[in-house]
Amino acid sequence: MQKGNLQKRKLNNQKLIVSAPPHIRDGLTVRRIMWEVVLALGPTTLLGIYIFGWRALTIILTSTATAILTEAAIQKFCKKKVAVADGSAALTGLLLALNLPPGVPLWLAGIGGAMAIGLGKQVFGGLGNNPFNPALVGRVVLLISWPNLMTTWPKPTPGLFRSVDVVTGATPLGLLKEGAAVATSQVSLWDAFWGNIGGCIGEVSALALLIGAIFLFWRKHISWHIPIPFIATVVLVSGIFWLLNPAKYVHPLFHLLTGGLILGAFFMATDMVTSPVTRKGQIIFAVGCGLITVAIRLFSKSPEGVSFAILMMNGATPLIDRWTRLRKFGEVSVNA
């Protein structure tokens, strides 16, 4: 550990340290936050491996390893301190893997990991400076470059380390594009809750994700201001459409439990770097994410909207921060 920006002076044969207050610190560090978020992703990661087998494990390892290596290589090249131990690159790599279909080739996961860190983070100056969620940048690069590979979904074959099923299934949201009736007839909401549905490695079980989310709430790494309004907006708006025309639109619970909504709302929209800092701003950000998600899911050709919704609102974050600047203590409003 280095002694920060402290000044040492020698007097009375004793070196005393002179520094600015405060002289005590809370125990929480950035490194701790990052690794605890990784830990919170544990249940859904393990369940993903259980459901999709060895292939899922190798995809997760590849993506995480390339993310860490890319971060280290760029930091070394830029003559910065190599700081992969802070856990942020590992978290990005893991989040990306959890957002990949379980059958993608390993080279794709590798490119994704490198893109997420290189293009999503280091190009802006590294930790704390990236405007967009790096894992989602990686995912979108892959989605645009290899759309077929990124939308091929092996069927879930639960069982400890079984090989991945070559039969290609459909995701619930993919079915939705064929009509509400088709989708609801083939997907049980209970399966969606437990995780027995097609989808990305880390998004299939609402239960596993919620266990991690509760841990994050408990550790105060996330607050309700982003995930709850995000999810509430999706449920509310999709619910209005369902009430108006239940034949055409699907039940709001379907939207809640399928696709990447829960993963996105609790683990990606809440990324501290790319979301607003004020509580009011966070709510505005979350409602925006919810509206864009529903708009994409209901009215566009693409089945899933969470990633794009978060990325778009990431872009709006500086503006939201500016709008929602806090009233200072004792600040007298001009109109008062």
Partner: protein, 436 residues
Amino acid sequence: MKILTFPGGVHPPTSKEATRDKKIEPAKIPERVIIPLLQHTGAPGEALVSKGDRVTVGQKIGEAKAFVSAPVHATISGEVIEIKPLPYPLGLNTDSIVIQSDGKDEWLEVEGTKDWKALSPDKIRETIREAGIVGLGGAAFPTHVKLSPPEGKKIDAYILNGAECEPYLTCDYRLMVERPKEILEGFRILMAALSVKNGYIGIEDNKREAISAMGRELNGEPDIQMKVLKTKYPQGGEKQLIKAILRKEVPSGGLPFDVGVLVSNVGTAFSCWEAVVSGKPLVERVITVTGPGVKEPKNLRVRIGTRVSDLIEACGGFNGKPGKIIMGGPMMGLTQFTDEVPVIKGTSGILVQTDVLWDEEIACIRCGKCIQSCPLYLMPTMISLYSKRGRLEEAKDYGALDCIECGACGYTCPARIPLVQWIKYAKRELAKKKAQ
């Protein structure tokens, strides 16, 4: 009783166990004292004595003509051996008077009055000014100036600050437990100086003995109300105290009298009692000498001007190798580069830390913890960012000048950014710019 508080703030460990139950002891009268002519917020004084003069305890030895200033007094009897700039706790060197003790501890003849109710407000102010009393909570603002609000500002509430929210410090707590009667009488004298009818005492809820001692002494008198406050830092900040007790916000850039309130520390009230009732000027105060780097932590009644080294000795010496010597508490105290600095009127404690290991500062990850902890609802990370980049106008726009430097943001920052330091820098540069 309802427990009051303010929005924001942090919960550092209170670390008061080492000295909480230790009675205030008088420290040995030192061989030598160093008395800086500037110990308060305001204009520095000029020496009234010269090298070689003999002085007695309580004799006025420094004074300024300016209104916002306070005289200083000799705190031991003996000979003035030097008048020159010397290290002092609030920064680099400042003009100081050095007195060598004659070992006699002779006091100037002084006289006070038990019948202070017969004194006019002006006479009370004058007595307090002559006694050199300043706010003992830390800011050291001259008390007689506080008692002279501008024309047209009506003061209708006076708060006695017994919060003592800084970790480690117990001097105010001990004073409240041991001398509640004198503190209350001192407070009533302060209230009388402005004919204030509503008095409040604010004490954090972890100081039960102080609450009961003061409560017993109050005995239901209607002029002063006891208010129990949540233990949270910085509860003892005057703006936070006013917010918690009276639900009023001091306007941005304003002072408590703008909302008709004054706040004084319990130590200040005690010194006012001494000044008015026994005629004793501010020559000693209670401080807490504590921390892992001190062998026997204590609450000591010390003469102003006593060097830190003497007090460390009085507490059994250093425990291990000292890392930081901090004047004040760990949240706002200032680190010293030598133990030859003297205790001044605003010194509430000496904290010695041993293991000083710091994580390196890394980039802000915008977690927002500084924002949620700021009791002034500022955005410390934004101010510090602008300050770092020299964009002072933006730093000001984000409230740099409203910052009370409590350090709550720096305490909570997981990236270990020295937020307060950057904000202080912006404040200083803005002040320089304004002066030009």
